[in-house]
Amino acid sequence: METFHIIILLLDATFRVATPLVLAALAGMFSERAGVVDIGLEGKMLGAAFAAAAVAAVSGSAWVGLGAGILASIALSLLHAYACVTHKGNQVVSGMAINIVVAGLTPTLGYAWFSMGGQTPHLGGDARFKSITLPFAEAVHDIPVIGYIYAELISNHNIIVYLAAAAVPICAWILYKTRFGLRVRAVGENPHAVDTAGISVDWMRYKALMVTGFLCGIAGSYLSTAHGAGFIRDMTAGKGYLALAALIFGKWRPVPTLFACLLFAFTDAVQARLQGVELPIVGVIPVQFIQALPYILTVLLLAGFVGKANPPKSIGEPYIKER
């Protein structure tokens, strides 16, 4: 029973860590499937985390905060689109620039508005998303295994965790079963064909990037108003890049990306537990190795040693009509 208990705790932590990764990776999926490289996921999340925490602190409502987070993230996404789609700028440079600007701007504004060393006030009460106890969780808690899993693992998360879980099938459906999704994929594979069909490539990419901004905004808001209780500088701490790695590891497809996020989140949960624990055969595994594992796996995948990555064909290339 002890091992079972630990596994449940690990999985519970995995869900909490995976939520922003899943949302950000899905966000990246729309942008990259539309042919726009987005290494700015990190910056968009950080910007959303700040906006959500700041507005939630002032308004006292987590939902208003979430709205602000989404708006901030969409604004950054539109800036990315303006640079890369309208002006055909370098997509990597634009993403980088957004990450750096936001990394500087959030503590600057936080310092000026709240004078708490770049943080936002501690959020409590309605300004923060609270855990939801699902129906009957109390009642079934004592049923062995199934009831226990339901009450401890499935129940007692905040709304955004469930939202992230729902986002995977929804995004998969949008991407594969709707006209919009088909066009997003087409514009990332062969924009010339899309243009010939009389659809504006630029406008499609703008729309895809707005979806990216929307999802990234939820991911960032989760960090500051649901998982945490306020904005701390650099609170994304590389999660945007990790989400990008998960997206690539999931070969730009929704369900494999979900599993990549869960895998990366699980290594994170395990890492916290394994600190200094002696394992059979291998001995103590350095924490840093486990932290680096997602990145090592992604490189191995990209190198073709673990399956094969097939990026969207025209990813990273600005669309120029005359060519």
Binding site: A83, T108, W113, T298, A303
Partner: protein, 373 residues
């Protein structure tokens, strides 16, 4: 066909000064303008801030020393990113390569410290170059031979490098008498000489690696424009297919350019660790690798441009700390905002002003010739 009979000539050529001076200047101006608006929003005066910034960077001898010390790091990373750009590659991993270079420098300074300084210096430089180059070699090989996208792999390698550095400092190289993750101090005989050891100036971190950076800039110019290697790298960067037809191997040159790039980035460790910190510490790379991208973009991948851009960012770093000190509502992060905006305008949005400026120049030039004729 004589000159006068050309009626519909090729579009007027845009002279170098527009391309290399006017456009970067206007991009910089736009970035500073937006930064000024941010300063206004947080309730301070942009004009005063600019004055403090310039005074803080160049106003007194000590400030100049600090500015040039930061400039040194930016020259190294700027050249590193630029050589990769010449080969059409985006090396976003200068940060990780610098971290590895620093580890190489530290190993030499920690374990070969019985050697005289004139031997330690070339040893440490070689170690920095080899470690940085090795860290760039893997992504380069994967790009050249297996087609893994170098932007993504170098990002991943930055994180892996950070993990290695943390591991080494926490588990292996940590000073047994200390608590924090730092190595022991290098002994004084391995330290790089400071400028203030030679010339009359206040004590600053500026050390001889600045001179080394200038020498490397000259070497960079020679390599890229006056050797066969540089030529081949540029051909691959311009057009891989053409290179292949000309018998130039793209994969060989991709690896060559990245290895040089990694070695250049590795030299940050010389300035930071052997020159100033005198021990291996966490995060000594401090974002220099990322700003190197901005330096290369602004400097148009040319050593002179890179020097000027590095000086700009060095001044921004030094003046920025002064800014945080002097003005009540501005803290050090404001400098990061300005940096980011410069990257945005001179990198991602470089095509925003260019067509307008070029068209304006053409109009101006045609009216000039018309009046002259």
């Amino acid at each position: 066909m004589t000159e006068g009979s050309v009626k519909f000539a090729a579009p007027l050529k845009i002279p170098g000064w527009v391309n290399y001076a006017l456009i970067p200047f206007i991009n910089l101006l736009a970035a500073l303008l937006i930064s000024g608006i941010v300063i206004l929003i947080i309730g301070d005066s942009p004009i005063v801030a600019l004055k403090v910034l310039i005074y803080g960077a160049f106003g007194y001898p000590e400030a100049v020393g600090y500015t040039l010390y930061y400039t040194t790091n930016f020259i190294f990373t700027g050249l590193a990113v630029a050589i990769a750009f010449h080969c059409g590659l985006f090396n976003i991993g200068a940060e990780g390569q610098a971290a590895l270079g620093g580890i190489g420098v530290s190993l030499v300074c920690l374990y070969f410290d019985n050697l005289p300084l004139w031997l330690v210096i070339p040893f440490a430089m070689t170690a920095a170059a080899i470690f940085g180059a090795a860290w760039a070699y893997i992504p380069a090989y994967l790009q050249a031979k297996r087609g893994s996208h170098i932007v993504i792999t170098t990002i991943m390698f930055n994180f892996i490098a950070a993990s290695i550095l943390t591991y080494l400092l926490v588990e292996v190289l940590i000073d047994p008498n200390g608590q924090s993750p730092e190595s022991r101090h290098f002994i004084e005989s391995t330290w790089l000489p400071y400028f203030h050891d030679f010339i009359a100036m206040p004590s600053t971190p500026l050390n001889i690696s600045f001179v080394y950076a200038l020498v490397l800039s000259a070497g960079f110019y020679f390599l890229v424009w006056h050797t066969r290697w540089g030529y081949e790298i540029r051909v691959v960067g311009q057009n891989e297919t053409a290179a292949r037809y000309a018998g130039i191997s793209p994969s060989k040159n991709i690896i060559l350019a990245m290895v040089i790039s990694g070695a250049l980035a590795g030299f940050v460790g010389i300035n930071e660790l052997q020159g100033v910190q005198h021990r291996l510490i966490l995060d000594f790379t401090g974002g220099y690798g990322f700003v190197g991208i901005a330096v290369a973009l602004m400097g148009r991948n040319h050593p002179i441009g890179i020097f000027l851009a590095a000086l700009l960012f060095g001044a921004l770093y030094q003046g920025g700390s002064e800014l945080a000190f002097e003005m009540k509502s501005i803290n050090k992060e404001m400098v990061i905002v300005i940096q980011g905006l410069i990257i945005l305008f001179s990198g991602a949005l470089e095509h925003m002003f260019r067509p307008k400026i070029e068209a304006a120049y053409r109009r101006f030039a045609t009216t000039q010739t018309a009046e002259a004729g």
